[in-house]
Symmetry: C2
Subunit: 283 residues, 2 copies
């Protein structure tokens, strides 16, 4: 960690106006991560990637132990995407002793994954804050598949006056529409097939909302989405919600918010997938 700090400090000393871009990940990189690295590459002079499977953002019954890891493959992908510096600390390096400091973000953490994964965003908040303090990036790049995570981190950065620009990047999908995720490797073939209902439904609903001008009641849309997903025998819905974005407050009609998010989390077998679409309706 001190070595990384020195490297970054030297880079800043050599070139004062240097712009450092940062892509925090849990590794097992896919094209979604590659798109973040490419965005950082385009907008910054130096691209720093972190790989750290953060135990604090996993619940006791979640998949921390079996979370997929492949550092050799990650390093190759990182290099191909133009990464300058890779930081892959051990758990002991990140948490030499249990943190007595907690960072809690209220409001934006109460629904969606915040409700179904208690403590998850507390873990995200502390690790992102620590990484920002270690790396001190000018910009940090996050994928919009984790739209709530982006909202939480933006809130945190604003509230704490952190000098870092949060750059949200579009969801990257497989050719058939499945949102890219490190967890997709868990999916059995039949689960993978049925999981396509998520992106398919979101796309249809987005189309419908745009056609109807946002007058549709959110609750009706929500029911329609649930029904469509439930047609897949392997699908087990965790949540389907329609909220204002990024404050994640309930809305009655789609057009009640400048931006509305349709967000869902659905289990296929042991694998919990999330996906979302954000729709802009107000002028």
């Amino acid at each position: 960690m001190q070595h990384l700090r020195n490297t970054i400090s030297n880079l800043r000393d050599e070139k004062p106006n240097i712009r450092i871009g940062f892509v925090p990940t849990m590794g097992f990189l896919h094209e979604g991560h590659a798109s973040l690295l490419q965005a950082a590459r385009q907008q910054c002079d130096i691209v720093v990637l972190s790989i750290f499977v953060n135990p604090l953002q996993f619940g006791p019954n979640e998949d921390f132990e079996r979370y997929p890891r492949d550092e050799a493959r990650d390093l190759a992908l990182a290099k191909a995407a133009g990464t300058d510096i890779v930081f892959s600390p051990s758990t002991a390096e990140m948490y030499p002793r249990p943190s007595k400091t907690q960072i809690l973000v209220s409001g934006v953490t109460e629904r969606l994954c915040g409700a179904s994964r208690p403590g998850h965003f507390d873990g995200v908040g502390i690790v992102v804050t620590k990484l920002f303090q270690i790396i001190q990036p000018d910009a940090a790049f996050f994928g919009m598949k984790d739209a709530q995570q982006v909202a939480v981190i933006k809130q945190l950065v604003t509230d704490l006056n952190m000098p870092v620009e949060i750059v949200p990047c579009a969801i990257i999908r497989e050719q058939d529409g499945l949102a890219m995720s490190s967890r997709n490797v868990y999916l059995q073939p039949e689960e993978r097939e049925q999981a396509l209902v998520l992106s398919r439904t979101l796309k249809q609903v987005e189309q419908k909302v745009i056609e109807m001008g946002g007058n549709l009641p959110a609750s009706e849309l929500q029911q329609a989405i649930r029904k469509q997903i439930e047609e897949m025998p392997l699908a087990d819905i965790d949540y389907v919600e329609i909220l204002a974005y990024p404050d994640l407050e309930p809305i009655e009609r789609m057009k009640d918010a400048k931006e509305a998010i349709i967000a869902l989390a659905v289990r296929f077998g042991k694998t919990r997938l999330i996906d979302n679409v954000i729709i802009q309706l107000q002028e």
Copy 2:
């Protein structure tokens, strides 16, 4: 705030290895603050002083409204002590909307002022974090009169990997022993006279502990201190505690900790004073 950020950023661009020292205060400066500014002056290239009476670290029945303020006098003292930059934001600038982000430090906040001023250190934690993010100092200077505050901030900085050195500075006292505090101006003459019991008792106890080699039970000492303070009719004890420092855990005998703190908070009329002494006993 953006102006301050630009100024500091330009200073760093001009002189890459510049060391920026920071002294956060609530203003109404006295010689204690001056000693922090002087320490920063000696150890750093640039000295930044902040003056901000932080509403979040005052309880609902505390003295936020009547906390003494005198910015003209503060600026003169700051200048005399060699301050380069003064940052005195408004409340609206520091908290444009209520913070949804909380920073909670456990363990070190549970006793002493943490127990008698609920929420106080949450307010300290958030304001210090925000100021550190705005100013990005290399070192920050804090007076040891607020020994628990120093412990809390050290914990926070360690847990969050903040790239700032915390420099604790000795308590500065009036000639008669009273620890300097902005709140001393509240004291009526008779209260001020009786308040001398605090420093006098701490000094005597320190002497006694050093002579006895730290074998004294902490509880006995605590009782002796309480008794001595209670002889003053205007003294109203909030707490007298003897703990390990800086982790602020209870000890049986003085020598049970590498460093032990004898800390007290006592009201004289409407004015709550704190004072402490830290004693090193183990080799």
